[in-house]
Assembly symmetry: none
Homo-oligomer: 226 residues x 4
DNA sequence: AATGAATGAGACTTCATTCAT
DNA sequence: TATGAATGAAGTCTCATTCAT
């Protein structure tokens, strides 16, 4: 029931009236709640989020949240599922298997970096969920399914790189993935304290460019045959 | 219950200090509050933390928190200051300037990794503070002072490495530091979701060992002359 | 406990209203809160009033006070508005313009006196608001509107009295009003200390009668032509 | 113990040191507490007053308030006693028996008016005490003694005025006193709401002058033989 | 005499959640 | 489906007061 399924257009009762205010549209109501909840959770965390605030932002009645999501915790879980589905879906659309190994790594890193920049809530949500020791996604079947075959894709790239002589053998795909994500994630998620410590604007165009290049350089270095 | 014994007249300053529970010791009271607060904040975040819970853990009266720290936000700020002071102090005691460049990098990474492992609250606190856009440390003079000259140390190592031919020139000390921290931090802070995704125990001895080595390898790779 | 009976399906709008305890009636809930708050504030002042006590007296959930009135200060403001609206409304219903000047003054003083006696909370509230330097009514648009044209009525009486030779000219309507109110108000509001000082019962029938007569005599004396 | 006894100068231990900070001076400590308490109580009432705030204003340790005055209620009572002693003392120093009847009334009204203006806290305290139904002064022996023979003085003036033909007979001294005080008190104590209602500055020089004259005129009018 | 530390009760307010329509 | 009203628990913070030095 909490699924969004955004495309279906239900012909509602022959459309007796054109419904100027989009009343009674459960699909959209759920979507609005999810979007508002994502914003709220990512801004103040699970503990700091307020159901009332989410309902207001979503423009729906507070009661609807309970109707569709049962409660705060379940809503948080749905938000997490939605967020992770989103990034993994986009990632899979990259079709990295069609690229040369080095290009594939570059593309994946560029994609990850851009995704983080465009969806900073994602990192917040990941942090929050880890603060709570992953107790929400741990219960989610959907979450697990999302990652089956996910590391295989990276492994295939690595294998092709070794075969082509671009990469050294013996690199663990999981380690690589963690590093790949880490160097971008850490920079962006901790940019606020970083700015106080280092005294420069982490989101300035050149700074972003420099960081991305350094990160790609780092990952390619560790992959390079010696 | 807080009083130890009501009627006894202790001859002042005679007993050599055998009172086991040090009553009326503001310094210790504050320390206990800080310790309890650090645990609480790192476990559930600023929004999720409960003053009452902190007071209980600290074994002090709720009121004392307001006496010494004014309020929740200020307490959080104090916790942050204390935590960052702690890691920077320990770090500075490494005396990396006395080590060969490669060894210095290794030592710094090992230290950082071990510190994170021994003080996982530190990463939680950093995450929390960034969730709140660094609004607490931004107000802290003490925090800023903590980091003056902090990056210079790393720069000196880099310079020595370039001079000795161990490192390639042109590497930015701040980028290096961010990467250095990132690869360990990300692995540890996101280990809960990581375990669900990857399906192995991130804190297993061999896993930890493997990760540290991979991280050091990564950083040294990017520093290596080409 | 708040529910009357859970299963019965009342045919909507059929019962002529025999529900004895009107559940879910926001208008009445607000009215009950206001009434209880007026009693509490007038008994112990703004600083001494307890939200919990008000909620109990009103028979509503504490939360409702915040739902409808935002907070203690705003509730106090609403109480003041209601109280002042009440006295001004009753006053305006006297239709003093239809009475002979002397009778109009008498009627106004009798009304004021009786109103104070019947609504002693009013004086308490006025005192409290002045203790707080009128900061609540100052913010109230409704309060200001209440008094437009309010002094004109008295001025018309004065003018008619001067024309008829009953009153001397040159008496300021505002001074008159202040005196008119003062002589009754002071006696009643300070009657507790007054009783300790003077040693008689200020609310005894004869005492009340004597005071009212003295007051009317006083005001008519100062109005009398010389 | 709570008495102030302002004049005695205790020669403290031969004045070993000149005590630059006036430490350990119980008389002054009590006086400072009383002064601060009077200010606080008159500003926010008994319910709104804060012991801590009083101690701070007085520049003494909070504990001292309990040492000298037992508690908040008792402190309030002491403040009331002190305040009423003060006005009655000053009043008695007028020596009205030496003035012509009309002049005596004028002098008394002028005195009362000026006293209210100079000590506006007095009115606040009276209001507060009446809010609490005089429960503090009722317990005070000292308070009662203060007013013995107090109304007799006014009666003597009235009697002399009747004898001289200046005043009509039959006026009750207590009624007169109440009116005398009322017309000034009401104007001043309710000036804040009055200013919002009437829209002029109640404390402006001319306004004060006009009010005093109107008040004296009022009282002399009701006393005048018909 | 004076002080700083400590306390427990209770203040205002907010929250997630359920009820009734 | 949707909504507004209502609730009880709990949260942050404040207060008058006492304890120990």
């Amino acid at each position: 029931m909490p699924t969004t399924s955004q495309d279906e257009k239900i012909p509602r009762k022959k459309a007796v009236r054109d419904a100027p205010k989009r009343l009674r549209d459960p699909v959209q109501t759920q979507a609005k709640i999810l979007a508002a909840a994502k914003a709220e959770f990512s801004k103040v965390g699970l503990g700091g989020a307020r159901i009332e605030s989410i309902a207001e932002k979503a423009g729906v009645n507070k009661r609807m949240i309970y109707e569709y999501f049962k409660g705060k915790e379940e809503l948080f879980q749905s938000v997490l599922e939605e967020a992770w589905t989103s990034i993994r879906t986009a990632e899979s659309e990259l079709e990295l298997d069609h690229l040369a190994p080095v290009d594939a790594i570059r593309a994946l890193m560029k994609f990850t970096w851009d995704y983080y920049l465009k969806h900073p809530e994602f990192m917040s949500l990941v942090n929050s969920e880890n603060l709570h020791r992953a107790r929400h996604v741990r219960k989610s079947q959907r979450f697990r399914e999302l990652h089956t075959g996910f590391i295989d894709m990276l492994q295939r790239i690595l294998d092709r790189g070794v075969a082509s002589g671009d990469f050294r053998p013996g690199v663990d795909a999981r380690q690589l993935h963690l590093t790949l994500a880490a160097v971008g994630y850490y920079y962006l998620t901790n940019r606020h304290t970083g700015e106080v410590i280092f005294g420069f604007d982490f989101l300035a165009k050149e700074a972003l460019q420099a960081r991305l290049e350094f990160n790609i350089d780092t990952v390619l270095s560790v992959l390079r045959p010696r």
